[in-house]
Symmetry: C2
Subunit: 138 residues, 2 copies
Amino acid sequence: MQYKANEIIKTLKSKGLRVTPQRFGVYANLLNRKDHPTVEQILKDLNQEAPTSSQATVYAALQTLREVGLVREVLLEEGISRYDANIAPHHHFRCSCCGAIEDIDWSAFPGIDLSKLRVGLKVERYEVTVQGLCDRCS
Amino acid sequence: MQYKANEIIKTLKSKGLRVTPQRFGVYANLLNRKDHPTVEQILKDLNQEAPTSSQATVYAALQTLREVGLVREVLLEEGISRYDANIAPHHHFRCSCCGAIEDIDWSAFPGIDLSKLRVGLKVERYEVTVQGLCDRCS
DNA sequence: CTTTGTGCAAACGATTTGCAGGATG
DNA sequence: CATCCTGCAAATCGTTTGCACAAAG
């Protein structure tokens, strides 16, 4: 557990959220993994030893965490939402074979020049999505 | 209609596909719009005057067209697949307010340097997704 | 005629919702 | 103790599937 419980609690409270075991569990789980799990994976993880959260609650927790900006939704596959507690801007790599997803550090692609964009568009953010084969699949 | 019917028919045949009114309709519709419609939008468009295609047929047509490489799926929104007959590599702009999607020419972002990627990853393709506000929403 | 495509309705899987009871601050 | 959260089950929404009939080559 790289993130301390008190830290997590403090963060949740700072956003005005009540700290419930379920909400804490979802956020802590997300913070302590490097992948971008689906709801199913989070749920399985949380209830591995003993049942702690229901499906609907995980969905609700994720939505709340997203609303306050602690969690992001990542869309790289059809029909499946993945979640990420890494809020800092970063890029993604997706293995076209096994579907594995890996973060790419923001610094990997130094400043993309947005000046050639059509006039009239106001940029808020951008990210590069790279698709290819990971170590195991290539 | 910027694309001629014969051209479209020729393209479909060249891929070994039977040319049915429904399949023709789906592909022609996709070719002649600049946005990236959802199945719902395509269906509505095709059946506007008279019913010509059923939902299941549009799904089937899109899947077939995707298999032969004439159409791409674009994932920029949760739970919704959009389709694109523009096969050439290009980037996307998405309005965070109204959800409008616009192509960005490949040449807008001159060669991204992929050399800083982790060793072991084999790149197949990449694209930049820009999020922001379009003309109307800003 | 053989093969492939279409349409309908039922099936499916991920996500959402209504609501009653329970926990948090 | 007022408010917000949880859990269950039913509802919803996009997409897929099974199968009988129709059309394309």
